[in-house]
């Protein structure tokens, strides 16, 4: 099967999956017996029939359930995810407002995890059992098991509040003028504006949340790399490579690492999708106005269009990331395509 056909087949398969997600969400919402009107117009205005009637008409709550669902599906196909009960803005606009913050933190966390995790994992794997290996393993174990909201609070308290050597919560220094909004990614916008001080400000605010959020992924990447290297280094072909007189560095990079790459791509892909879905705890601790916070608030107030839109977005993120992982896989290992 050619690569193009493989991708096409994978894409077509995602359609029923996304459809299924909307249906399940819709059913759950209709099983929960809560009057969405309270959330829409507020508790007090419920006493005002004129407001209640206008709201019922506006949100189409007077129409049968199946009709509401079909309208919703048709609207999605038109690129309209509906209007949030809570913010009263189009859900798509809301998601796009909150996505850049999440993307910025996710990318920076992933870079941190990969750039630091793979080399550390390789070194630990090569010097398996050494003191370095053991200390790295311990740190990664701690990193992977301490909850980020806890370490986040501690790091803020120590490095920001007590020592004052890092920036505090939020995405940008409070007393600094933000760069003009272009992408919503503050680092990129600062670069576009050619504003070094703003870039500095945005990066400084990324440091702590990146260490916290990325640390979690780092631990994962490190352990997988280490395990893969340890396993590969024991294989016959490595001995062969060595016996050919190949330099140790080349043995590791060309042979062992290449084979360790496959499981790593899966892990990194999943971790990235997870990071993009919004790291609720880290976002909350660092007052990071991202997707995670938006969706938690939507869920807490039964803001059904926002929950459904956000869930769809997350589903799409996972589908796209998985697709990319599979494509990379099939390039690295053509056997996958025929499987």
């Amino acid at each position: 099967m050619s690569l193009v056909r493989y991708i096409a087949r994978r894409l077509i398969l995602t359609i029923p999956m996304l459809f299924g997600i909307t249906l399940v969400l819709f059913l759950i919402y209709n099983i929960v017996q809560v009057d969405p009107l309270v959330m829409i117009i507020g508790e007090r205005a419920m006493d005002n029939p004129h407001v209640v009637e206008a709201a019922i008409r506006k949100w189409g709550l007077d129409r049968p359930v199946w009709e509401q669902y079909i309208t919703y599906l048709v609207n999605i196909l038109r690129g309209d995810l509906g209007t949030s009960f809570l913010t009263r803005r189009p859900v798509l606009d809301d998601l796009l407002t909150h996505l850049p913050a999440t993307v910025e933190l996710a990318v920076s966390s992933l870079l941190f995890a990969v750039v630091l995790g793979i080399p550390l994992g390789i070194v630990a794997g090569i010097y398996f059992g050494s003191l370095f290996d053991r200390s790295v393993w311990l740190i990664s174990l701690l990193n992977g098991s301490l909850p980020p909201f806890w370490t986040g609070l501690i790091f803020l308290f120590v490095f920001y509040y007590s020592l004052g050597i890092t920036a505090g919560p939020g995405r940008f220094p409070p007393r600094m003028e933000r760069p003009p909004m272009v992408t919503g990614l503050l680092t990129v916008d600062s670069l576009i504006a050619g504003d070094v001080a703003a870039l500095n400000g945005a990066l400084s605010h990324l440091v702590l949340p990146t260490v916290i959020l990325g640390g979690f992924t780092l631990a994962l990447v490190l352990r997988v790399t280490r395990a893969a290297i340890v396993e590969e280094m024991r294989r016959e072909y490595i001995r062969t490579a060595r016996s050919k007189g190949l330099a140790e560095r080349l043995v590791v990079v060309r042979h062992a690492l290449r084979n360790a790459l496959l499981p790593l791509i899966t892990i990194i892909g999943l971790a990235f999708a997870g990071l993009l879905s919004g790291a609720v705890m880290t976002e909350t601790v660092f007052d990071w106005a991202g997707l995670g916070q938006y969706l938690v608030r939507a869920a807490a107030s039964l803001d059904y269009p926002a929950i459904q839109g956000g869930t769809l977005l997350i589903a799409v993120i996972y589908v796209v990331v998985n697709l990319c992982v599979d494509i990379l896989y099939s390039i690295l290992d053509p056997r996958v395509r025929h499987g």
Partner: protein, 524 residues
């Protein structure tokens, strides 16, 4: 190994960014850190939350005002004077000739007519400010005079006019952005998106930007008709909890930590760079006990309800807030004329037991107490509920606590399904009817939800709503409070105090029970 070192170097560089942080400071801008996450829109015709009140009070103005120093006095705003017709049905407002918008254009009678008609026709929640007060029509008499007609006499109307929802917008600007005051404005008005990011008012500040869940930026109105204010701007910065707001203020990254809890306040007390600003709110937390036979519970007997009222350890409840709270006798907060604290219930276990025995429950009984989420004065509902549970257990009343998410709780409460609740009430404007209209009638308000049918209270509420003489009104309110204490349906537990932590160089910061704060007089 060299590579590993290189990576550590990268991290070290990243950290070093944070130390070069000084950068361009926005000199005289006030940074306020708080939980400003409730903003849905900043269109005064549509917003019905809390944070918008702060923003609207800073960027727009109303015809009349109530200042924090005297909540019973209505003072001029954009209107220099107003008069009420003999029959109480007609209000005439005369605008201050000096009043002008941030654009430099004068505030005219047509702007007033447009703003209020738009509010009404948007049919959003805040339109109830006019609807509920029998607003009939508004008419431009001349450039500076508007006449408002009401369906029935409403002495509270002048206080309603001070509500930020009734702010005056510059018609030309709003219309240019797609706004309209037409009958079908709820379908055709397109100004919301623009008003979410900009303001069209005459207030001391101009809205520059709102980034949802992140910050609201306002800058000084250099054209302000009363003269530019001291601050260059105000930024409301969203923090998720008081602890991080306090950290920002302590490090000087913010000037005010807005609405913190008692623990955070205690921490701030020990820091010489910080000071506390404590304001009395009009927010009440109450225990509601249904007097209705519908539930077939002992609480339909007034003696049982009084026994409950006598069993509560009120001082202990207030202690949960760190002492940052008070309580009135009935659902009329302290600070409103007629609210008499001497009528409050006090803890008396002997009396409570005697009342229970008299009602035929010497060994008590069991029932369910329903609560939603959220907190008052920093104390979560479930903590208050657990305290009440423990207090009532001492007289043999066994409560089971049923906590639900706030929307679920409110849905059931509204459906008149809950016999006993703990809930809260926050005013939108400063008039006694903000409470008497909602806690008195069998067929409306919160009293309806608890199936309370107390003709005497309902009748007093009607008299209060119609009474124009402040002296008579105060006497009626005293009777109203007394009647409520007798009925023991709504037992106030807390009247919240609002604690802001300020950096010590912030001057002129005042709490206001409706607008929360007024930045016009602040300097640093």
């Amino acid at each position: 190994m060299r590579r590993v070192l290189a990576f550590f170097l990268v991290i070290a560089i990243a950290f070093s960014f944070s130390t070069q942080l000084s950068a361009r400071a926005q000199g005289n801008t006030l940074i306020v850190a708080g939980r400003f996450v409730d903003v849905i829109t900043l269109d005064p015709g549509r917003a019905f939350e809390t944070t918008n009140l702060i923003v609207h009070h800073a960027t727009y103005e109303t015809l009349l005002n109530i200042n924090a120093d005297d909540l019973s006095k209505i003072v001029p705003g954009l209107a220099e004077s107003y008069s009420i017709s003999e029959d109480g049905l007609e209000y005439t407002f005369v605008l201050n000739p000096k009043a002008k918008f941030a654009s430099g254009n004068p505030v005219t009678a047509e702007d007033v007519r447009f703003s209020w008609t738009r509010l009404l026709n948007l049919k959003g929640s805040p339109s109830s400010y006019l609807k509920d007060f029998g607003f009939k029509s508004i008419e431009v008499v001349d450039e500076r005079t508007v006449k408002v007609r009401l369906e029935s006499p409403q002495p509270a109307f002048a206080s309603v006019v001070t509500a930020p929802a009734l702010s005056i917008l510059e018609k030309a600007v709003v219309v240019a952005q797609g706004g309209t005051d037409a009958e079908d404005a709820d379908q055709t008005d397109k100004a919301k998106d623009w008003l979410d990011q900009n303001s069209a008012g005459s207030g001391p500040f101009i809205l520059k930007r709102w980034s949802p869940n992140s910050e609201i930026v306002m800058v000084r109105n250099e054209n302000y008709w009363r003269g530019p204010v001291a601050l260059e701007g105000v930024t409301l910065r969203v923090t998720n909890d008081a602890a991080s707001a306090l950290q920002l203020v302590a490090r000087g990254d913010a000037d005010v930590a807005f609405g913190v809890d008692a623990d955070t306040a205690e921490q701030a007390r020990n820091n010489p760079d910080l000071k506390l600003n404590i304001g009395q709110t009009l927010n009440l937390l109450y225990l509601g006990i249904s007097p209705s036979d519908f539930f077939k519970l002992p609480i339909s007997d007034v003696r049982v309800r009084k026994a409950i009222a006598h069993a509560i350890d009120y001082d202990g409840v207030i202690a949960l807030t760190g002492g940052f709270a008070d309580r009135p006798a009935a659902m009329l907060p302290l600070g409103i004329a007629g609210s008499d604290p001497s009528l409050r219930y006090t803890r008396d276990l002997e009396k409570a037991k005697a009342l229970l025995a008299e009602a035929g429950y010497p060994n008590g009984f069991s029932m369910t107490l329903f609560i939603g989420g959220g907190s008052t004065a920093g104390v979560p509902r479930e903590v208050i509920a657990a305290k009440i549970q423990a207090d009532l257990a001492e007289v043999g009343i066994q409560l089971e606590i049923n906590q639900q998410t706030t929307p679920n709780f409110l849905t059931a409460f509204r459906a008149q399904e809950l016999p006993m609740v703990i809930s809260a009430w926050t005013p939108d404007y400063l008039d006694a009817t903000m409470w008497t209209a909602f806690f008195s009638k069998a067929d409306s308000g919160v009293s309806r939800r608890l199936r309370m049918d107390e003709p005497k209270i309902a009748e007093l509420a009607d008299q209060i709503a119609a009474e124009r003489d402040p002296m008579v009104r105060e006497r009626l309110l005293r009777e109203y409070v007394k009647a409520h204490v007798e009925a023991a349906v709504f037992i106030p537990l807390l009247q919240e105090q609002y604690i802001d932590v300020l950096r010590s160089n912030v001057q002129g910061y005042v709490f206001h029970p409706v607008y929360l704060t007024d930045f016009a007089g602040v300097s640093k």
